[in-house]
Amino acid sequence: MRRGGALLWLSVRAQAGPFALAIVGATLFAVMAVVGTVVIGRITDKVIIPAFEEGGVSNRAVALAAAAVIGASLLRIVGVVLRRYFGQMAQRRMQMLWFKRVTDRYLAVPLSWFDDQPTGQLLAHADADCERSTIAMQPLPFSIGVLIIIIVSMTLLAFVDPVLLAVAVCLFPGLALINKAYTKRVEGPAAATQARVGDVSAVAHESFEGTLLVKTLGLEAREVARLKEKADQLRQERLIVGRLRAGFEPGLDALPSLGTIALLWLGAGRLASGAITTGQLVQAMVLFGILAFPFRIVGFLLEELPRAVVANDRVQQVLVAPKRLLPTTTVALPTGPLDVVLDAVSFTHGPDAVLRDVSARVAPGEVVALVGATGSGKSTLCSLIAHLIDPDAGSVLIGGVPLPETDPVEFHRTTALVFQESFLFSDSVRENLSLGDDIDDDVIFAALDIAKARSFVERLPHGLDEKLGERGVTLSGGQRQRLSLARALLRQPRVLLLDDATSAVDATVERAILDGLRHSVAATTVIVAHRISTIALADRVLMLDGGRITAEGTHHELLAQPSYAALVRAYEQAPL
C-alpha cells in the first residue's frame, strides 16, 4: 500500500497540471452532486408539497426549481468532463513517459540481455505494463471527490436528523467492509484466472508458431489436448471467481435498498412526529442513492493499486537493466582499411565457456575465413567483433581502437555483420535494405547485383516496394539470405563479417556471389565458411576448436594439419 502511494504520488507530481484540473472537476462534481440532493429536498418542501397541500404554487417557484435542477446538472457536467478528460490526459501522458523510458532502455541494453527475455514479455513491458502502471491514476480524482461527497453528505445528514445519520453510519461502513472483504477474497482467484489465461495464450502461441512441425508430425490432437487442459483449468478458476461474485454483486444492490427501507421506516415515524419535513426525508433518500456508488469507486482504487505496483515493478526491472557502456571520450577510427585484433578474448554463455583466451589479428584489407565444427563459437566470435556482446575477459580492437572506445555511430558506418539467420522486417524490400536511410536505387541495385538478388527482386510484383510478411515468410530461404547480404554490402563497410551467409544458396549462385565479393568489395573481411571455395577466397584461415584457435595460416599451410583437413576436406572423402 505504501508503495502504491509512492507510485501514485510520483505519477501525480509528474503530471501535476492535468491532474490538478481533474481534481478540480471531481470536486466540483462532488459538491454539485450533494447540492443536487439539497435542491430536490427543497423542491419537495417548497414546490411539491405546496402544490398538493396548499392548493398551488407560483409559476416563479416552479421556474426557479427547474432552473436549480438544470443548473446543478450543468455544473456537474462541467465537473465530470473536466475530471474525465484531464484524468485521461494525466494517465496517458504518464503512460507515454513510461513507454519512452522502457523503449529507451531496450535501445540501450546489451544484446545479451534479450537472451533470457521472452519476446511476449518484452512487448508486454512496453505496452500493457506501462498502461497498468498508470491504471490507479484513473479512479484517483474521483476517489478524492468521493471523499468530499461522503464528508459533506454525512454532515448534511447530521443537520437533517441524527436518527437518519445513524442509519447511514451503520450502513455505509458496512458496505465498505463488505467491499474490502470481497476484494481481498477475490484477489487471489482473479490473479489465478489471469495466470490461466496466460497459460492458454502461451500454448496457443507456441503451437501456432510451430505450425509446420505440428502439421508434419500430426501433433494436432496433442496440441488440442494441451489447450483443453489449460482452458479447463481456466474455467474452474473462473467458477471460483463466479461463486464469489454471485454472492457479492446482488448483495451490492440489495444492501443499499435495505438501508433505504430502514431509512423510510424510521423516517416515516420521524415525519409523522414532525421531527423532519418530507423534503428532508426525500433528500436523505437521494443522498443514500448517491452514497452507494462512491464506495465502489474507492474500492476500484484499492483494487487497482496493487496491480499498478506489480506492473510498475516489471517496468522497473527493465529500467534497472544495465546499459551498454557508452564511451565517455571516443577515439576516431583511422581512415583507410582497418585491422581487427582479438586480444586474449574469453566469452561464456551461461555455464558454457565458448571462447577461451582467443587472440588473433586480421590485417587491413585481409580476408580471413573462420572455420570450425558446429557449435564451436564462430557466431559468438562474429558478435564480439560486431560489438554486439562484450568479452568477459580480453579486448577487441579495430583500427587499433578498443571497441568500447569507438564512437558508436562511426563504428556502425564502418562494420556490417550478415547474420547466420536472416532477419527481415515486415516492411518493404527497399526499407529492409536502406534501413531508413535515403539511398539511391542505383546503389541498391548495385548491392543486389553482388548478392545475386537483383533478378528475383525485379520479378516481385511490386519490385523494391514489395511488402514482406512476418519474418519474410513469402520468400524462399535463399532469397531471404541474399537480401540480408545485400543489406550489408549496401553500406560499403570497411569491416565486413559474413556468418555463413551463403548456406542457403546453391553452388552456382554462391560462386557468383563470391566472385562479386572478390572483385568489388575491398573490406577487411571475416567469413564463417564451410565450403572450400569460400575458404579459398580467404587470404588466411582461422580454425576454432574447443573455444580456442587451434590452427592459423593459409589454407595450404593448414591442409597439412589433420584436424583441419578432416574438417574441410570431408566432402572429398565422399564416394563418387
Partner: protein
C-alpha cells in the same frame, strides 16, 4: 506483495492482450498478400450482416449458450424487480402510511417495510443462484467454443497460417473468447436488466400518471439519437486507437525481435524516431477517444436533469388537476432518477458490447473459414515399408505470386535415396510441402505408395511421411522433449540411442545438461547447426516410409554432415528419402538426382549420368566441385 506465480500469470495474460492489440494493426501493411485471407472475405460478409446476424450465427455455433439466455433473462428480471421495490415502497408509505386518509399508520409502514425487505432478501438469493448457474453454463460453452476454434485453426492449411499474423490467431482463442466471457457475464445481463428496468419503470410511471409519464418519456426521447451519434463517433475513435496501438506494438516488436539487427547496424536513432512517432499517434488517438468518453455520461445526466425539471414543473402545476397526489409525484422523482441509472449504464456498456460482437465476429470468421486441405472420410492407410512417389503433371501456385511448380512429372521408386537440387527459389521447398500435404496441388496429382495423397488417412500420412523443415523450430523445453514430440512414448534411453546412431552422442555429451538441457525460445540457446541436429534426431525416431529432408543439414559443418549423411544412409535403408540440399555431397551418393529449375524438373538420373550429360546439373556440380575441392593443381 504478491506470489511469484501470480506475477508470471499476469505477464502471460499481458501477452494475450498484446496479441489482440497486435492483431488490430493497420490492415494496410499487409493488404498485398491478403486477398484471400480469413479477415477479408468471411469477415466482411459477416460485418455487413450486422450485430443481430452475428448474434444469431453465434448462438447457432454455440448451442450451449442458449441455455444461458434463459438464465440471463431470469436473473435480469429478479434484479430489476429488486431495484423497483424501493420507489414503489416510497409511494406506498407516503401516500398510505403517512399522508393518507387515516394519517400516520405505523402498522402499515412496518408491514410494508418488512414485506419489501423480505422481498429484497429473497430476490438476493434468487439472483445469486441464477448468477451461479449462468456462470456455469457460460463457462462451459466458452470452453467448448475455445477448443473448437483452436481445433479449427489447427486444421486450417499452412497457407492460412502464413497469411495471418500469429498474434491474430492467438487472439481468436484468448482475448476474443475473453471478451465474450465478459459479455455473457456482465454486459448481456446489464443489457437485459437495464431494458427490463427501463420498461418496468416506465410502466410504473404510466400506472401513477399516464400524462406525466408521457412527458417524462418525451423529454428522454432525443437522448437516443444523441447517444447513437456519440456512440458512432466513439467507435470510430476506438478503431483509430486500436490501429494506433497496433502500430506502436509493431514498432516495439520489430525492435525486440530484430534487436540484433538494430544493434549491429546502429539503428537506434531511426528506431527511436519511429517509436516516438507511433507513441505520439497513439496518445493523440487516446485523447480523441477520451473526448467522447468524457461527454458520454454527462449527456444522460443532462437529459435526466431536464426530465426531472419537467416532471417537477408539470407535476406541480398540473398534478392536482391530473389526479396526482404527493406520494406519486415524489415517487416520480425517484423513478426519473431510476431511469437515469440504466440509461447511463447502457451508454457505457455499448462499448463493451461492440468489442464482444467484434470478437465473436472474428471467431465466427475463423470457424467459417473453409479448410482447404480437407481430410478424406474413410482414408486409405498407407502400406508400411518404403513408398514410391509419383508426380503427375503437378502444378502449384501460392495465393500470391505466379506459378511456382509448372507441371512436374516424376517417378521416385520405393526405397530410393533421391536428391533434389536446383537454384534457390526454384520450388524445392514447395515440393517438400506438397509431399507432406501442407497444401494440395493446384492441378495434377501426387501419389504416395500408389495412392493419391488426398485419399490417404491423416494419421497414416503423418506417421509415414516425415519432413525435417528448412528452419528448425524447437519448442521451448528440453532437448529430450523436443525429440519426443516425434514419437510420444519414447524413453530417454531410446532418444539417447537416436543421437548415438546418428553419431551425435559425443556432441550431446558436451552440451551442459545433456538431454535435459533447455533449448530456449525457438531453440535460441543452441547454435544454428545444433538446432538442426536436434531436428534430425527427432525425424530419426518413428519409422517413416518417406522421409523428406529440406536443407536439414545446411548449417552443419562438413565433417559432421558427412558423418550424418552416412548414418542416415545406413538408417534409411527401407525408406524412401527425398533430400533437398544445396550441398551436392548428398547428390553424389543418391540413387536418383532430380534437378528443379524455375518450377520444372529439367533433369533426372544418377549423379554419374547427369554429370556425363553435361546439362544444368553438370554446371551446378562443377561449381560445387570448385567450391568444395582442393583443386589438384593447388
Amino acid at each position: 506483495m504478491s506470489h511469484p506465480e501470480e506475477d508470471l500469470g499476469e505477464l502471460e495474460e499481458l501477452d494475450a492482450i498484446v496479441d489482440v492489440l497486435v492483431d488490430s494493426a493497420p490492415p494496410g501493411s499487409h493488404d498485398q498478400e491478403r486477398r484471400h485471407s480469413i479477415t477479408s472475405d468471411e469477415e466482411d460478409a459477416l460485418s455487413a450482416a450486422g450485430a443481430i446476424a452475428v448474434l444469431r450465427r453465434g448462438l447457432a455455433a454455440t448451442p450451449e449458450l442458449r441455455q444461458g439466455v434463459v438464465l440471463t433473462l431470469a436473473l435480469a428480471v429478479a434484479t430489476a424487480l429488486g431495484k423497483l421495490a424501493v420507489p414503489i415502497l416510497i409511494q406506498q408509505i407516503l401516500d398510505r402510511g403517512v399522508f393518507g386518509k387515516d394519517g400516520y399508520r405505523p402498522g402499515f409502514v412496518a408491514a410494508a417495510c418488512c414485506g419489501a425487505a423480505v422481498g429484497i432478501i429473497a430476490l438476493y438469493f434468487i439472483s445469486r443462484a441464477t448468477f451461479l448457474r449462468l456462470v456455469r453454463s457460460a463457462e462451459a460453452s466458452l470452453l467448448g467454443l475455445r477448443v473448437r476454434t483452436f481445433h479449427h485453426i489447427q486444421r486450417l492449411s499452412l497457407a492460412d497460417h502464413v497469411e495471418q499474423r500469429r498474434g491474430a490467431l492467438v487472439a481468436r482463442v484468448t482475448s476474443d473468447v475473453e471478451t465474450l466471457a465478459q459479455f455473457t457475464e456482465w454486459g448481456a445481463v446489464a443489457w437485459i436488466v437495464d431494458t427490463v428496468l427501463i420498461v418496468t419503470t416506465v410502466a410504473v410511471m404510466v400506472v401513477y400518471s399516464p400524462p406525466l409519464a408521457a412527458v417524462a418519456v418525451a423529454v428522454f426521447l432525443p437522448l437516443l439519437p444523441a447517444l447513437g451519434y456519440l456512440q458512432r463517433r466513439q467507435l470510430a475513435a476506438y478503431d483509430e486507437l486500436r490501429t494506433a496501438v497496433g502500430g506502436t506494438l509493431s514498432e516495439v516488436s520489430e525492435l525486440v525481435t530484430g534487436a540484433s539487427v538494430v544493434q549491429a547496424y546502429g539503428l537506434q536513432r531511426r528506431t527511436r524516431r519511429r517509436l516516438d512517432r507511433a507513441a505520439r499517434t497513439q496518445y493523440k488517438a487516446q485523447m480523441g477517444a477520451a473526448k467522447w468518453f468524457a461527454v458520454m455520461f454527462p449527456l444522460s445526466d443532462f437529459f435526466g436533469a431536464l426530465a426531472l425539471a419537467t416532471v417537477i414543473s408539470v407535476g406541480a402545476l398540473n398534478g392536482p388537476a391530473w389526479g396526482l397526489d404527493l406520494g406519486k409525484l415524489v415517487a416520480f422523482v425517484f423513478l426519473v432518477n431510476l431511469l437515469l441509472g440504466p440509461i447511463a449504464e447502457l451508454s457505457e456498456i455499448l462499448d463493451q458490447t461492440q468489442t464482444a460482437i467484434a470478437g465473436w465476429r472474428k471467431i465466427l470468421g475463423v470457424l467459417a473459414t473453409p479448410i482447404d486441405v480437407t481430410e478424406p472420410e474413410n482414408g486409405i492407410t498407407l502400406p508400411t515399408g518404403p513408398l514410391a512417389v509419383d508426380f503427375e503433371d503437378l502444378r502449384f501456385t501460392y495465393r500470391t505470386g505466379g506459378e511456382v511448380l509448372r507441371g512436374i512429372n516424376l517417378h521416385l521408386p520405393a526405397g530410393a535415396y533421391v536428391a533434389v537440387v536446383g537454384e534457390t527459389g526454384s520450388g524445392k521447398t514447395t515440393i517438400a510441402k506438397l509431399l507432406c500435404r501442407l497444401a494440395d496441388p493446384t492441378a495434377g496429382t501426387l501419389r504416395v505408395g500408389g495412392i493419391d495423397l488426398r485419399q490417404v488417412a491423416p494419421e497414416s500420412r503423418r506417421s509415414t511421411v516425415r519432413m525435417v523443415p528448412q528452419d528448425g523450430f524447437l519448442f521451448d523445453t528440453t532437448i529430450a522433449e523436443n525429440v519426443r514430440v516425434g514419437a510420444p512414448e519414447t524413453s530417454d534411453a531410446a532418444i539417447q540411442s537416436a543421437f548415438d546412431s546418428l553419431g551425435l552422442g559425443g556432441w550431446l555429451e558436451d552440451v551442459p545438461g545433456g538431454l535435459h538441457a533447455p533449448v530456449g525460445e525457438r531453440g535460441g540457446s543452441l547454435s544454428v547447426g545444433e538446432r538442426q541436429l536436434v531436428a534430425l534426431a527427432r525425424a530419426q525416431l518413428g519409422n517413416p516410409g518417406l522421409l523428406v529432408l529440406d536443407e536439414a543439414t545446411s548449417s552443419v559443418d562438413p565433417k559432421t554432415e558427412q558423418a550424418l549423411s552416412e548414418a542416415l544412409e545406413r538408417l534409411t535403408a527401407g525408406r524412401t528419402v527425398v533430400n533437398i540440399a544445396h550441398r551436392l555431397s548428398s547428390a553424389e551418393r543418391a540413387d536418383l538426382v532430380v534437378v528443379v529449375d524455375n518450377g520444372n524438373v529439367v533433369e533426372t538420373g544418377t549423379h554419374a549420368e547427369l554429370v556425363a550429360a553435361g546439362g544444368t546439373y553438370a554446371t551446378l556440380y562443377s561449381s560445387w566441385l570448385g567450391n568444395t575441392r582442393v583443386l589438384r593443381d593447388d
